[in-house]
């Protein structure tokens, strides 16, 4: 599998899309910093409350990150199908399961890289121009990384599944873009369900009403949910790739 990860990473690094998406993290980070600084005045205690997976999207620009990764996964994986490279890859004796898992791991590593870059930029900007980046402590960072990785790999495995089925880059791209809004809603609902007896006024920002302490224990549920979903889609992708003629 190391060979698959190594070759897919090589493909990423040499692709134009990789360079473009990597550069996108800089303006996203700057925009986030500006946004957070504005939000800080709206908070009761002047701090941004981090809420696990949901807040990953809010604090690390998850929507954009997902969009970027979804498109990237579609390009990386679906192109192998649409261009026919998968035939040459499998024809080289590469195990199909290793190919799918290796590709997923490559994209997860890419997600980590993007996220890390954004966090560093936010940290630097916060240190130089503001009082903080909105990320409160190492445990929060750990949760964010874990949450994002699970969330992103779930999302990417779903994109991969579509790519396996459709074998078309365009369909996978459309799926990646459209499903982000659906995934957002599911994510919000799951997080709300985990917070019992909470009345949320319409228009209230989610991050404003849930404390970090309360969500710390409850974020495990959505995390596990996405992990299971990731496994389901990942397994489905493997099954499709294993069973289908290329």
């Amino acid at each position: 599998m190391n060979n698959v990860i190594s070759s897919q990473s090589f493909k990423c690094v040499t692709s134009k899309a990789f360079k473009v998406f990597a550069l996108i993290t800089i303006p996203i980070s700057v925009l986030l910093f500006v946004m957070f600084n504005g939000m800080k005045d709206m908070q009761e205690e002047g701090t941004i409350i981090v809420n696990g997976i949901t807040t990953v999207r809010e604090s690390v620009g998850g929507d954009m990150l997902l969009m970027v990764l979804g498109i990237f996964a579609a390009l990386l994986f679906a192109m192998d199908f649409s261009s026919g490279s998968i035939r040459q890859i499998i024809g080289k004796g590469i195990d199909r399961t290793k190919y799918v898992v290796g590709t997923l791991v490559t994209i997860a590593l890419y997600a980590l890289l993007l996220m890390g870059t954004m966090m560093v930029i936010l940290f630097v900007l916060g240190s130089v121009f503001g009082e903080g980046t909105g990320i409160s402590g190492f445990s929060e960072i750990g949760w964010i990384i874990a949450g994002t990785l699970v969330f992103v790999t779930f999302f990417v495995s779903a994109v991969m599944f579509i790519a396996c089925l459709s074998r078309k880059t365009s369909i996978s791209l459309i799926f990646a873009i459209l499903s982000i809004s659906v995934v957002n809603i599911i994510c919000q609902l799951l997080s709300l369900i985990t917070k019992k007896n909470l009345l949320v006024d319409p228009g209230t920002m989610f991050s404003q009403v849930i404390s970090a302490e309360a969500t710390l224990s409850e974020r495990i549920i959505p995390l596990v949910s996405y992990f299971i979903l990731m496994l389901v889609f990942g397994f489905a992708s493997i099954m499709v790739v294993r069973k289908r003629d290329m």
Partner: protein
Amino acid sequence: MSSVLKTDNLTKTYGHATVVDHVSMHLEQGDIYGLIGRNGAGKTTLMKMIGGIAAPTSGSYEFFGEKDNRKTIARIGCLIENPSLYPDMTVEDNLKFYNKLLGITDNRNIDEILELVDLSDARKKKTKKLSLGMKQRLGIAIALVGYPDMLILDEPINGLDPTGIVEVRKMLLKLNQERNMTLLISSHILGELERLATRYGIIEKGVLVEELSHEELLEKTRQAVRIDGLDPRKVTVILEEIGLTEYKVLQDQKVMVYCDTSLSGKINATLGEHGLFAESISVIGQDLESYFVEKMGGVSHE
């Protein structure tokens, strides 16, 4: 010679349609096996199954006498349908990708492969800027990564101009002669296959209708003049007199003369001058194309 590929009743069905029907073929080391068949005959599906890209519905195949194909598939290089290249990568990077995929850390093999396929000058070119012939050669180069013992090439000269065809032919012959590489090639261009192949398999509607060596093919497509109803001893004397020494005496007073068939008139006249009048003098034998067309069902699809 050792066995490279052996298929045993290899069959592929899609729904009720049988695309490949109980194909049993055998390739020895150093063979150049030309797979001939019209569009939809099952050539590509057969190659896909052999290349591990499609699963057989029934039957089996083995490489190098080894039943477990997972062990031997790495010794096979495939180019099925069009060469699939990453358009934004350079020629060199495309090969590096496959090197990494196979765990080859030393990239020096790329120089040799590029030299072999005559793409050394284009190594820094993006593949989207390559001509069709260059893409085809790069596809073969990718199949060569890992130094396989056998190459499976599906229509490798499809769409190439005459110069490109000659280049690919020379390259394949070089691989076969210098590296003793076994080649399984499908093509519509019969004349090209004739220049390359040492053995042929004719596939029609998924069935391997005939397998024959190059020599057998030459024999079957050899043109001759057949003389019926004369004493062979007298006929052969006269044939020798006019310099036709390649002949075969058959049963029932038949003599086959292997020569330029336009000489049939001269043969007839000479026999007449000696008072020998044949029951019939006929030209027999087919050209290569007619032979294959007949075997493939009798209707040319050109």
